[in-house]
Symmetry: C2
Subunit: 340 residues, 2 copies
C-alpha cells in the first residue's frame, strides 16, 4: 500500500464580499492523517461545484452552518478508498462522500455510500443521479406538481437542476420552457426536447418569454431570481406554484437594490392569484423520495428520456475560478472538478 | 301581500383612488322589479361589509370581476323572502344571499340558502358561521396547519377572520398571538383566550412581538401587510407557513412604496428558511371543507370555545363610511349593516 504523503486542499481564507476573489481562498498542503477504527482514507476523484456553496462562504445564518475561516470548503465528492478501517469497505472501492475541496480525506465509513462503477459513470452521482438531479426531481414533483398540459418554466435550464426539471416536466406531460444564456445553450435545450428555449441575454427577453407561454405559467422552478423572476412573475397563472430552489443571480449581492419596493405588490399578486411560493432544500425530501428518484432517473436515462451534460474542469486549483464562472453562467452543464 | 314600492341601493359612481370618498358612491332609489319563475323577491335584513370589497371597486384584474360603474356594490346579505316564485321558498323565510348594498333584490332561488333562524342569530351567518369564519378556518387548517405547541400569529385579531384563526389555533393546541389596534382590542383578545396580545400602534410594537414569540413564529396568518408583516417576517421559523388571506393595509395604495426593494431579500429568506407563502380565497375550499366548518364551528360556539363579536351599524346609507372605518381599523368585531 502506497501512503499518500500529502493532502492538497482549498480553505476559506476570508469571507467574500460580492464575487469571491482568489484571495478569499488559500491552497495549502498538509499531511494526511491515518484513519482510525471505522474510518476510511479517501482519494478524491471528482468534486462537485454547486451554487449553494456561495451561501456557505458567508457568515450569515442559512439552512446550513457557514464554513469557518481556515476550514476546507465543503462539497460533494466521488472518492476512491485508499485504506479502510471498516470491514464493509476495501481499498479500490468507489464511494460518494462529502469530502470537500481537497485531494484526500479521512472520514467515518457510515458517512459514505458505496457506488457501483459499472452502473453509471461515477461522476454522474454528483449530477443527474445525485444531489442536483434529486433537487430538480423533488422540487418539481413535490412542490411544482405539474399537470399534463400545464406550462413549466425553468431558468439555468442547461444546468444539472434545470435540465432535470424541464425533462421531468415533459415526462409528466407538461410543456417545458427553458431559459439559458446564449445561443449555444438555447440550441441544446431545443435538442433535448424543451418545447421552447429562450436566451435571457436577448434584449426582448421578457417579450420572448411571454410569447413562449401563451397560456401563462403554472409552475416556475426558481433557481436564479433577478431579471428572469421579474419577467416570469406577471405571467404566473392563478394557483401557480413556485418552488424556490436557488437565487444564483443574487448570491453575490451586497445590499438590497434600489426601490421602488416591490414586496407589497408581490404579496398582492400572491393573494389575487392564490400563488404558492415555497422555498426548499432537497434534504427535506431525501427520506421520502430519494429511492424513488434513483429508480425513476436511472430508468429514464436508460430509456433515453433524460439527457445530461457535464462540464469537467481538470485540477483542484481551478475550483475557485470555475466556481465564479458557474455563478456568472459561463459553464455549460454540470460543473465537476476532476481532482485525481 | 304588500309590495314594496322602491329599492334603495348604493352603486359605484366612480373608481376610488386611495381611500374611497363619498362621491365614489351614489345612493339611488329605483322601482323593485317583480320576480319571475324560480325567483325570489328579497328584503335585506343585514349586509356584511368585508375588506375584499375594496378590490371589487378597482378595475384591475383580481380573483373576481370588478363591480362595473353604475352597478350595485356587491356583498353577502341575510334577507327575508317577500315573494317567492319557487315552491321551495315561502314569504317569511330567511335566507343567505349575495344581494349587495341594497334594500331589495330579485334573485334566482338556487343562489340562496335557507337559514334556520332558531339555530343562531341570523346575522352570524355573515360572520363567525359565514364567509369570514370559514376563511379563517380553511386558511389556518388547510395552509397554516398548526401543530400543538407551535406559535400562530394573526393580525386584525378582533375581526371575524382573525378571531376565528386565533381561537381555532388554540383549539388545535398551538400558542395564539393576536395583534390589534388599541388597548380595548388588546384587552378583548386576552379575555377570549389569546396567549399574548399586542397593540400594533405601540412605538415598540416589533420588540413586543418578538418578546411574545420567544420560539419564533410557525404560522403567520396574513391579512394586513404593512408594518405588521415587516415585524413578523424576521421572526418566521424554518418551514413556517404564511396563508395570505388579505392585505388590508395596502388596499388603498396608489403606487409601489419607495425603496429599497425588499423583494430579493424576501425571496432569499423564503429559500433559506424553506418558507411557504400561499395566497388563497376561501372559495377554493368550500366544496371540501364548508360542511366540516359548519359542524365544527357550531360545536365550538355551543361549547363556549369560540367567542365572537359583532359591530352592527344601522342604515344602508352609512355603509360607505363604515367601510372606510373598517379599512382603517376603527370598527371592533364583525362589521354588519342592519338594513331593515
Amino acid at each position: 500500500m502506497t501512503m499518500p504523503a500529502e493532502n492538497t486542499r482549498i480553505v476559506l481564507a476570508s469571507r467574500p464580499v460580492g464575487e469571491p476573489r482568489p484571495s478569499d481562498f488559500r491552497l495549502e498542503t498538509v499531511p494526511v492523517p491515518a484513519p482510525g477504527d471505522g474510518q476510511l482514507l479517501l482519494k478524491t476523484l471528482y468534486l462537485s461545484l454547486d451554487p449553494y456553496m456561495r451561501g456557505r462562504m458567508s457568515a450569515a445564518k442559512s439552512y446550513a452552518d457557514p464554513v469557518e475561516l481556515g476550514d476546507v470548503m465543503v462539497g460533494g465528492t466521488v472518492c476512491e478508498v485508499i485504506e479502510s478501517r471498516d470491514p464493509a469497505f476495501h481499498a479500490g472501492d468507489v464511494v460518494l462522500s462529502f469530502s470537500g475541496w481537497q485531494t484526500h480525506s479521512v472520514i467515518d465509513a457510515h458517512h459514505v455510500r458505496k457506488l457501483d462503477p459499472h452502473a453509471a459513470p461515477v461522476q454522474s452521482w454528483l449530477g443527474v443521479l445525485g444531489m442536483p438531479g434529486f433537487t430538480g426531481y423533488a422540487g418539481l414533483l413535490r412542490i411544482g406538481d405539474p399537470k399534463p398540459g400545464e406550462t413549466v418554466v425553468v431558468a439555468a435550464a442547461t444546468g444539472p437542476v434545470g435540465s432535470a426539471v424541464g425533462q421531468i416536466a415533459k415526462i409528466k406531460g407538461a410543456r417545458a420552457v427553458g431559459i439559458g444564456g446564449g445561443p449555444e445553450k438555447v440550441a441544446y435545450l431545443r435538442e433535448i426536447g424543451f418545447d421552447a428555449a429562450i436566451d435571457h441575454r436577448a434584449p426582448d427577453f421578457a417579450d420572448q418569454l411571454a410569447a413562449a407561454c401563451p397560456d401563462g405559467i403554472d409552475v416556475y422552478f426558481e433557481n436564479v431570481g433577478g431579471a428572469v423572476w421579474a419577467a416570469v412573475f406577471p405571467l404566473l397563472n392563478d394557483f401557480a406554484r413556485v418552488p424556490v430552489c436557488g437565487l444564483v443571480s443574487h448570491y453575490n449581492d451586497t445590499a438590497a437594490p434600489a426601490g421602488p419596493d416591490r414586496l407589497p405588490g408581490f404579496m398582492s399578486d400572491v393573494l389575487k392569484k392564490s400563488l404558492t411560493i415555497r422555498g426548499f432544500i432537497q434534504s427535506e425530501f431525501v427520506k421520502s423520495d430519494f429511492k424513488h428518484f434513483v429508480g425513476d432517473m436511472s430508468g429514464w436515462i436508460h430509456a433515453g428520456r433524460i439527457a445530461h451534460r457535464e462540464d469537467i474542469v481538470e485540477g483542484l486549483e481551478n475550483a475557485p475560478a470555475a466556481f465564479n464562472g458557474m455563478l456568472a453562467g459561463r459553464n455549460f452543464g454540470k460543473l465537476i472538478i476532476k481532482v485525481a
